[in-house]
């Protein structure tokens, strides 16, 4: 079905118009697009594959930004202790951070939405069970729960994603449930029920599309959260493996030598992480303004 909300205007059109109206959000969106493209194209644009032990050389370790390598090229952002080109390492780190963050965010969205919709639609015991569990999840500090999961299951990209999904789905479930409760009381749902449509059909074809605006907003913000949480876990040394650093692990490695004056190993990945998360949040904020029916643009 066509998504017609708000004065008969298509949602995508409204979003595009809303983003364009704010220069701040437009720039942030542009930054996001550039960073995502850089992450996807990392193997093509990075001068070096920092995960290939044959391409890095500790002879070139700890070089400050702008130094020449032995082959005559330049390390514009310097090298780390192992001799990795920081620019290449950051591109690959961005790739890792983004893919972990987006995968975790999308999986949490899918699981959280299913749970939230079920709670709202079926009500009764199912709702109590799901929502009390959601309350329980929201009561624990995110990092603590993720830490425990990683301690139990061990390190690795998929385990980090599992931990992040586990701590994030509850946010989606709560938001979807409240949105769905509002929709369920409306006449069109009543009408669908009278027509004898099946529960899944009503849930996914009629209620869900109308719950999308809050979901999109939370989804954006939660991807940013997932990226930050992954960086935190890696910084604590229990996230991803040491030979394939994400942005958080690059910062952690650089932090070890920060006091010795080798600032570029942690400051540059830190700045990149800051820019990435900040841009996603700005876009997310703007989406919230655009999609909120109570706010008129």
């Amino acid at each position: 079905m066509k998504l017609t909300l708000f004065r008969g205007e298509g949602m995508l059109v409204r979003v595009a118009r809303g983003l364009r109206a704010s220069p701040k959000a437009s720039i942030a969106l542009l930054v996001c697009v550039v960073l995502i493209a850089a992450a996807i194209l990392a193997p093509l644009i990075a001068p070096q594959n920092p995960y290939d032990l044959l391409q890095i050389d500790i002879f070139d370790g700890k070089l400050p930004p702008g130094s020449a390598s032995r082959t005559g090229s330049h390390y514009w952002l310097g090298t780390d202790t192992q001799g990795r080109d920081m620019y290449s390492a950051m591109l690959y780190g961005l790739r890792t951070s983004l893919s972990v963050g987006v995968t975790a965010g999308v999986l949490a969205l899918v699981i959280g939405t299913a749970m939230g919709l079920s709670a709202a639609y079926f009500g009764g015991r199912i709702e109590t069970l799901i929502m009390r569990f959601v309350d329980l999840m929201l009561g624990f500090p995110t990092i603590l729960v993720a830490l425990m999961i990683l301690v139990v299951f061990g390190q690795g990209a998929w385990k980090v994603i599992l931990a992040l999904v586990f701590v994030q789905w509850a946010y989606f479930a709560r938001a979807v449930r409240s949105a769905a409760l509002v929709e369920i009381g409306k006449d069109y749902v009543e009408a669908a029920r009278c027509l004898g449509l099946s529960s899944p059909r009503i849930l996914f074809h009629h209620i869900l599309p109308n719950c999308l605006p809050p979901l999109i907003v939370i989804g954006t913000i939660q991807v940013a959260h997932a990226i930050t949480a992954e960086a935190t876990l890696s910084f604590l040394g229990i996230g991803l493996p040491i030979t394939q650093p994400s942005l958080g692990l690059l910062i952690a490695n650089g932090y070890q030598v920060l006091l010795a004056g080798l600032y570029w190993m942690s400051v540059y990945p830190g700045l990149l992480l800051l820019v990435l998360v900040f841009s996603i949040n700005v876009v997310g904020d703007r989406l919230r303004e655009v999609l909120n029916p109570r706010l008129e643009l």
């Binding site: 032990l53 044959l54 890095i56 050389d57 500790i58 002879f59 370790g61 700890k62 202790t81 192992q82 001799g83 040394g237 493996p241 040491i242 030979t243 932090y255 070890q256 030598v257 920060l258 006091l259 010795a260 004056g261 080798l262």
Partner: protein
């Protein structure tokens, strides 16, 4: 009503006054003991902590030479019989006198501590019988002539029979049984956080300068340096090599550096038919364990550029090693240099061994045991990859997890270290390279399960020599003989650094211990 008010006020004062207890010296230490039971594990961390609280029959100076401790003198009546005279007037920290019974009890318990990851068994393996002559005299008979008997049993920490009979390692951790004759008394241990100690005023030796001492465990290098710079701690150990020059330039900081007897090596496990982490080029297990072939071990040694590691990873804080015993120890073979990188020769040896295209290998190491350990593992990964192996992974784990798994044989290629705590190389060779024999206490650290009977035999003969010069010459020969087999791949000997507030100094030595009794104000 008024009484109540005063009571409330008094209670308030009491609670605010409590945290103000002054600590005279706070030490930031990089790694922590795994237990307060001095006989639980003989790793450097555990021994270092035990030396603060417990006494031993002999003491080792900064060059690891032996001096009388709780034993005042000893005589060798015949090659198999010794008489040991104990120091009079020594008391335990609970006030009870120290006697021959405590020594016998301690030696007897040495090889009976359950679950010990690194037992002291070999320190008492030579003893056939030990008997009490009187309160302060012992007679020891040995199975074979044992010239180094006092160095060996002298390493056993003496615990109080009265306080620790029937006690477990847990009772030591809680402090219930932690009663020694050493310079400091146990107050409290919060694992992962701090150990609190108080000077024992009844200590028989020289009184340390600082009364209340707190030892904080800060494994993160940068956090430890930051703690010193912020004044949260007075002294730190294991200063990261990158920070040395900047700390030396800081007038508020004093840096003390010494060469250490600790050798850092790469172990290649021959223990199982399939070495963990070692595969063919497609990632499938190999039919045989390649590390059982001396040619493969030598080839790996030839892939490593030790000078580059010392220069790049350690900032010069190390000496490339070609054997286990550091220069200065009796039995160090001066003419046995480190392997120089030779990739062509390595390739040839691999081809001769049947691996012309190499094989897959995972390198594992600790990440908080000694400065640069995680970086070292990654650098080794690079070098082995250039040498023609397929490096499938490099893992760096916290030491408390890592050492247990390494001892259990979970790793194929792993970075480990061995600290020296004796005047000669004999105990190092015996614990690291002797055929593993848990009952005899030999090869306690032989995690790779290297076995070479002719070497075992030659080492035993050297150890039975009473004349130190003959013994050291024989140890040199044994060292060269076993080096031809590349039982482990020696990498370098550490240089260690402490940094402290200006006005303090530490008497550091080959054993690289960080002990409060060695810290004093500069006069």
């Amino acid at each position: 009503m008024r009484i109540l008010k005063y009571a409330a006020l008094a209670a308030l004062l009491a609670t605010t006054a409590a945290p103000a207890l002054a600590v005279d010296l706070t030490i930031g230490r990089s790694s922590e003991q795994s237990s307060m039971d001095p006989q639980f594990s003989r790793t450097g961390n555990n021994q270092m902590t035990a030396e603060m609280i417990f006494g031993r029959m002999v003491q080792f100076d900064e060059n690891l030479q032996v001096h009388p401790g709780l034993a005042e003198s000893w005589v060798n009546i015949d090659p198999l019989t010794w008489e040991i005279h104990l120091r009079a007037g020594v008391t335990f920290q609970d006030g009870t006198p120290f006697t021959a019974d405590d020594v016998i009890f301690s030696i007897d318990r040495t090889d009976k501590v359950p679950n010990s990851p690194a037992p002291f068994t070999d320190t008492v393996a030579a003893i056939a019988n030990i008997e009490r002559v009187d309160d302060l005299t012992l007679r020891v008979t040995t199975h074979n002539p044992a010239p180094s008997l006092m160095e060996d049993i002298g390493r056993v920490f003496i615990i109080s029979k009265q306080a620790s009979e029937g006690m477990t390692s847990d009772d030591f951790n809680s402090g219930k049984a932690t009663i020694g004759t050493g310079p400091y008394r146990f107050i409290n241990w919060a694992p992962g956080e701090a150990l609190e100690l108080e000077r024992y005023d009844g200590y028989w030796g020289e009184q340390p300068e600082f009364k209340d001492v707190e030892i904080r465990f800060i494994s993160n290098d940068a956090a430890r340096v930051a703690a010193l710079l912020s004044g949260a701690v007075d002294l730190i150990d294991a200063v990261p090599p990158d920070d040395i020059s900047r700390l030396q330039d800081n007038p508020a900081i004093n840096v003390v550096s010494v060469p250490s007897g600790r050798v850092i090596y790469l172990g290649l496990s021959m223990r199982m038919d399939q070495a963990p982490g070692v595969t063919d080029l497609q990632g499938n297990p190999l039919a045989v364990n390649p590390f059982r072939d001396a040619k493969v071990r030598k080839a790996i040694s030839l892939m490593i550029d030790r000078e580059l590691i010392v220069d790049r990873i350690l900032g010069g804080s190390g000496v490339a090693a070609g054997q286990i015993g550091a220069p200065g120890l009796g039995g160090h073979a001066a003419d046995l240099g480190p392997d120089m990188q030779d990739l062509a020769m390595a390739k040839q040896l691999l081809t001769e061994a049947g691996y012309p295209d190499g094989f897959g290998i995972t390198v594992v190491s600790s990440n908080d045991r000694f400065p640069g350990d995680a970086d070292l593992a990654q650098a080794l990964g690079q070098m082995l990859a250039r040498g023609g192996l397929k490096v499938t992974g490099v893992e760096a784990l916290p030491y408390n997890v890592y050492s247990k798994a390494a001892t259990a044989g979970d790793y194929g290629a792993f970075v480990f270290s061995l600290g020296a705590s004796t005047p000669s190389t004999a105990p190092l060779l015996q614990s690291l390279l002797h055929t593993y024999d848990a009952d005899a206490g030999k090869g306690a650290f032989n995690r790779v399960r290297f076995s070479y009977p002719a070497f075992d035999e030659a080492l035993a003969q050297a150890a039975q020599q009473f004349d130190p010069e003959t013994r050291n010459r024989m140890l040199e020969d044994v060292t060269k003989m076993v080096a031809a087999e590349t039982p482990i791949v020696p990498l370098y000997w550490q240089k260690v650094h402490w940094a402290m507030k200006a006005g303090l100094t530490i008497a550091g030595g080959l054993s690289e211990d960080t002990r409060p009794q060695d810290v004093e104000s500069v006069k």
